[in-house]
Symmetry: C2
Subunit: 169 residues, 2 copies
């Protein structure tokens, strides 16, 4: 397959560039977890660490959160907080609540959320990407928020690769 950053069919020019970056990042995430069992996805390398399963659901939760923020322009509601809160925050809540799932569970979540992102992207223009937005208290734009989505995913993929090496043999 070709590895190129470029325009992507179905999207405006700059959104297409972003999509080609997000696609590559996702492909490497899925490669990093290929073949893992439920026990391996639940493995905690240290008491205060995150499991690979929790990191995968975190990646989907971040994407879901950025959808709500940038597409809907609102804060997550109660139902969304109940569904995604533990994965978004990780830590104790993540360790307690995210376990016992096979790999397909996480892959389905990632896929469902991504499908929605691409649908929304296909209805937006490059101008939207440059619209101003706050990042915490910093001036930012939608482009940065979505750059940060795959940036956070790659960060956690690096961690997943280390945790996978630490799995009991």
């Amino acid at each position: 397959m070709p590895y190129k950053i470029k325009e992507t069919e179905g999207f405006t020019s700059q959104i297409g560039h972003l999509v080609s970056q997000m696609d590559y990042a996702r492909k490497t995430t899925l490669n990093a977890v290929h073949g893992l069992t439920t026990a391996e996805l639940d493995f905690l390398p240290a008491g205060d660490a995150n499991s690979i399963g929790a990191l995968l659901l975190h990646i989907a939760a971040i994407e879901k959160g950025f959808q709500i923020e940038t597409f809907d322009g609102r804060r997550p509601n109660e139902q969304e907080m109940a569904e995604w809160g533990a994965a978004y925050d990780l830590g104790d809540k993540g360790r307690q609540q995210i376990k016992g799932h096979p790999l397909e569970f996480y892959m389905t979540k990632l896929e469902e959320v991504r499908k929605q992102t691409l649908l929304e992207f296909s209805n937006r223009s490059d101008e939207w990407l440059y619209e101003n937005r706050l990042w915490g208290s910093h001036p930012s734009n939608n482009y940065f928020i979505w750059f940060h989505m795959f940036e956070d995913e790659i960060n956690h993929r690096g961690q997943i690769r280390i945790i996978r090496k630490m799995l009991p043999q």
Copy 2:
């Protein structure tokens, strides 16, 4: 400071977008290692792991390698292999050869290499970014190679954050 992905002064439009992504990634890398001592930079969390220092030099080595490949269009020469080989390959060679340096050593290397990248970028056009190039055996372009530079850096920054948590107290 503003967190935006956008055109950057001194560069053509698309190269400017790339530079704003690379700048953000570098800033977060430097934040992740702030204040570490030489002993902490040398710490190995496991026998087959990499130290934070080795990962930092690896980030500079990858950037140096991509400079040679995409700006000079050649393979590294003997002198470059001697200087950067261990950091590029990591593993045993990295564990043996990369240690005993203070944080400033790594920061200076990263800065020197980046300065050269930005100089070369400032003399190139967006068309150059889309020029075809092989990535291993895959069709690729210069844009992907430089996307991969900061992509690899973010991956290792994620690992640095985990290793930092594992440092002996």
